[in-house]
Symmetry: C2
Subunit: 208 residues, 2 copies
């Protein structure tokens, strides 16, 4: 197989990669072997120009009329997959759902441990991952060498938990608490405000 050079990909393109990946996997499952930028654009509601530009970042630049679905799935997967260990703060309902979520494995992500301040949860295991006391966030995170911290805690605890994770050496934080966090220099923050996202969806729906 020819070597593919996947160079530096701009963030907007990167953010579209998961949608491309899921779409191409669906087409592959239907038996498609090649696909045109025009068809991808139609089905993903993007412009053809956008799709061509995005795909150009994924190839060595060979001009192709049709794209091999398998090659694209392969290249995009490689762009998104990396070995990264994560720790989770908050082992409540959302936290437990994340501990059992099988989808992370497909991207080489794994939650290594969880933390909670509630005594009744400390020492328990969910899907083989142990819950430590919240007082141990920074120590255990550092020992595990976790790169990512996930916050599934109430708003009032989020800043403190983020600070502990940063003290433990994480370089990225994925925050589910609907609260603005002050993060450290050098730590990438992603806010996932589910309720706000759903409110935006509600706002976007056409009036009946």
């Amino acid at each position: 197989m020819s070597e593919r050079i996947c160079g530096e990909i701009p963030r907007p393109t990167l953010s579209r990669l998961p949608a491309y990946l899921n779409y191409l996997k669906a087409r592959r499952a239907e038996g498609a072997r090649s696909i045109s930028a025009a068809q991808i654009a139609r089905d993903l509601k993007l412009t053809e120009i956008q799709v061509r530009k995005d795909l150009a970042f994924l190839s060595s630049g060979r001009p192709r009329v049709g794209r091999e679905v398998e090659e694209l799935v392969d290249c995009i997967s490689r762009q998104l997959t990396g070995r990264a260990g994560a720790v989770l703060v908050g082992a409540g309902r959302l936290g437990q759902a994340l501990l059992f979520y099988e989808g992370f494995r497909a991207y080489g992500l794994e939650i290594l441990a969880a933390f909670d301040s509630r005594e009744e949860l400390v020492g328990r295991e969910f899907n083989g991952k142990r819950v430590f006391s919240a007082e141990e966030i920074s120590r255990v995170t550092r020992e595990l060498g976790a790169a990512i911290g996930i916050l599934a805690v109430p708003e009032r605890a989020a800043q403190w938990a983020a600070d502990q994770l940063v003290a433990g050496g994480v370089r990225g934080i994925f925050n589910f608490a609907p609260v603005h966090l002050e993060a450290c220099e050098g730590v990438v923050l992603h806010n996932e405000d589910l309720a706000a996202s759903m409110a935006l969806l509600t706002r976007a729906i056409p009036a009946p």
Copy 2:
């Protein structure tokens, strides 16, 4: 209080509103009464021009040097809050976490009922919301007049569940399954691929 005209807000601005809201609430909690676009821009890592343009959509156009924090929180909240009923397909761990999630209320969102194909879950209640059989999605959704459907099901069930929701009259679907969905005309689709988002975060973190 003077009447504020909040006109048609472009989607990119809309998508930033939740971050503005959480940030301004944090500033308000610290006692801030007014705030400059420059400070908002600094703390949210946006350009000042972007912030000014976004805020202009929220006001009646009165030129102001400093913005009243309370007014901004109020106006943004009103933009994001609406009365919308939702139904949830999938009452597993993620579904249950969503049923207990208190954050939806702040935006006037409420999950009215849930569905699952597993017999042991049908008839149970979580946070006062009943789980119906998956066979009843379209009937119950229509009876409840739910505008939004939330998918917290495995990939293999997602398309079928989406079709049932559309048959039940939803106008928007919030999908957690990491799979491409073919949605109906007139139905707004939002994909929330948590694993992919986390993979993108992992990719963004600076090398150690």
